[in-house]
Symmetry: C2
């Protein structure tokens, strides 16, 4: 049992994490924020006993057993490696645009301290629909998989200020941010690795009302690619951040004997034994919201 | 006013055409079928006074002013050119897999007889949603268009016998069959021509229960490509024939000030003046069918 968690990061995603940890009774004992003001505010809101703007203060905090890394991506590798080196477990948000040398550094640190838990969070594969899809594919309910067609659409990933998310070299962009989750679930669902890729990245919007002047946005806001998988299947992926007001994801898996479609968090499908496509799994967490559309 | 129409072709699409012509009071006076039996059956069903299995008999028929070409695609160019050369108007289904030399032959014949009407039917652009979309783009309601994202999914295009649709060289496949309509509406809606293309064709299913033995299917059953347009916009197109039981099309046009989405035959969208996405045009012909989903 973990005694205490230290969180390195603030912002909307961190707030979501803190709420979730609180709701399942996991104790957060220390928080870091990029400014003392942000750290103070988050600590006050979530009643976290210790806050700081110095990362090492969280890592070295006596009650911290596990460090949860949600800070800006360029810091991830260093924070994760340092935390492991002083004997702390690490749960790290997958940093967008992780450079190979930084990834190697993290993997090396994780292997060097095998008694410590070190997890890179690519969360999509833990959703019930993805777990069920994987099982159905493994049980050969749709035969041989030959195609994964994946589409994701949402509004702009940029905030109202210029920051790392605007810069292709700092890990910004839709491929850096969403892409790894998609690549992960392709491998997870099909059991195949991607061996060849062809595609394009586009930055259609180079300035916004908030981000203008000398600085231009260089991170991609649209991305589409095709991938060939190790046993011959094909995957097509389109990630589009020009559809404000909604976050939609559709993962369509087609096999020789049927197909499965994860739409948002629900699973639909048709196997050889079904006369038509049907809802196979509804994500109960979303049902109240869905009632709006169904009724 | 046209006195009489001669139809060169039989089959489901021709039956649909004959019903439509009948419903608007246009008189079909002659029909050709690949066998006398097929011609006889269609003629009897639609009460067409003359039927034959010789194409020239339709073209030369005295009461035929306009020849409507819906026969197998490899005959289109010849039938259309011959009909024009003896003074008949021509309305020709766009032949899948039209070869350049055959296209040139048809265009030459059409230009040589300018008093005759010669139309290649690419029908999508005549649907109300597409007309409205074009007008909204022209009126700059969504600003500068930078992306068209087009997805089409349906069941297999193949029948229960081996024929031209199974063969990539005879005009079979989803790119040959659906592609031209998509290419046409990209140009129609944006006013831009495609200048560069990158993509892939796949034949995932090479044999079916009905088409097996020595013969293999060579026509593509899945196709995805990206296109660059002449004024800098990008189009992404995915055509998928592995979703039986439905025909879905989604044309998403994204501009600097908003977006338009043609889903099936309806138009949804959000322009700068709208607080959220809304239904802009419902195709009334489909409403009864849609009630099933709405209620």
């Amino acid at each position: 049992m973990l005694e205490g968690v230290g969180v390195v990061g603030t912002g909307p995603l961190t707030n979501l994490l803190l709420s979730t940890l609180h709701s399942v009774g996991i104790k957060v004992v220390a928080i870091w924020g990029p400014t003392l003001e942000q750290a103070t505010e988050t600590a006050r809101h979530f009643r976290i006993p210790f806050h700081t703007d110095k990362i090492e203060d969280v890592l070295l905090h006596q009650e911290v057993d596990l460090v949860w890394v949600t800070c800006p991506p360029h810091l991830h590798s260093q924070v994760a490696s340092n935390a492991l080196s002083i004997g702390k477990h690490v749960l790290c948000e997958r940093p967008p645009g992780l450079k190979k040398e930084d990834a190697v550094k993290m993997v090396t640190a994780a292997q060097y301290y095998p008694s410590l838990m070190s997890v890179m969070t690519l969360g999509l594969r833990f959703l019930p629909s993805y777990l069920r899809t994987k099982k159905m594919i493994q049980d050969r309910e749709i035969g041989d998989v030959f195609l994964c067609d994946i589409k994701m659409s949402c509004g702009s990933l940029l905030g109202d200020k210029y920051n790392w998310s605007c810069d292709e070299n700092m890990g910004g962009g839709v491929l850096n941010t969403i892409g790894p989750h998609i690549i992960d679930i392709i491998t997870f669902l099909t059991g195949e690795k991607i061996v060849k890729v062809r595609g394009m990245l586009k930055t259609f919007v180079k300035q916004t009302d908030c981000i203008s002047g000398i600085r231009h946005i260089t991170s991609d806001d649209f991305c589409t690619f095709q991938a060939e998988l190790s046993r011959g299947a094909t995957a097509t992926i389109t990630l589009n951040t020009h559809v404000p007001g909604q976050f939609r994801q559709e993962v369509l898996i087609i096999g020789s004997d049927g197909r499965l479609l994860i739409r948002d968090a629900d699973l639909h499908g048709q196997t050889a034994s079904m006369p038509r496509e049907q809802l196979l799994l509804a994500d109960i967490q979303h049902i109240p919201e869905k009632q709006k559309y169904i009724n």
